[in-house]
Symmetry: C2
Subunit: 148 residues, 2 copies
């Protein structure tokens, strides 16, 4: 079952506390925007969204919060093409991306075999694999249908 926002909020509180930092509603609001979004959002999109909740928030705060949240592993970023850096909530399940070069849609997927194979390849090179990011570019089903 999907995690509730409270779970992420709790995690944020723990991190902040454990580091002797202070809790702020701004960071929470930014996290909430990402929680509520199914899309991957740019910093500016996040800024615009969070402004709907808190009209006084500053862009600098968004940047600082995003950097912080990413460092703490609460969110992830992905960047490709000319679309710039985009953020998503780390919902705990690693996944890779298929990106439609026609409509820019991002499809998330996970494949066990793919993960295993990568680990094997890394080992073969004596490389200690920590993370990876795979972006597959192409045309999604819908765009293929539309074009024909």
């Amino acid at each position: 079952m999907p995690k509730k926002f409270e779970d992420y909020k709790e995690k944020l509180k723990e991190i902040v506390k454990s580091k002797g930092l202070k809790y702020s509603t701004q960071r929470e609001e930014i996290l909430k925007v990402l929680y509520n979004s199914k899309e991957h959002l740019t910093s500016e999109e996040i800024y615009n969204e969070v402004k709907k909740i808190n009209r006084n928030i500053g862009l600098a705060t968004v940047y600082r919060a995003l950097a912080f949240l990413e460092e703490q592993g609460l969110i992830n970023s992905i960047s490709f093409g000319s679309e710039g850096k985009k953020y998503e909530l780390n919902r705990g399940k690693h996944h890779d991306h298929m990106i439609c070069i026609n409509c820019n849609k991002i499809i998330e997927f996970f494949d066990e075999e793919l993960e295993k194979l990568q680990k094997e390849i890394a080992e073969k090179h004596g490389f200690k694999l920590i993370a990876h990011e795979l972006n597959m570019y192409g045309i999604c089903k819908e765009c293929q249908d539309k074009k024909s």
Copy 2:
């Protein structure tokens, strides 16, 4: 056997001609810098390198040439972390990257099985795969040895 620079130069000439554009030594010089480099270079690094050949070249020309060369498929770019966009000559063989998060070294590799598996995964989603980019992050052999 590895391609000579003349081969790339020839390809550039063909492209330029076929598009009714004009040949310029600047684009050639930039291509040469990438040909001579085993590393992935940022725009600024390329600018500095090409200045050694042609001290009058402008940064804007480098940006315009890189965009052009990438569009034409002569070079590829890869961007990750905070290192920004880096370029490499397209030597005709697709490959993926292992990136050492300690020393920033980039190790290129190619794995047939991995390619096949991706194609299968794409098909399963009705996605028409055109290209992909896989970056594996971790610690390279040398850095592992150094740390122990």
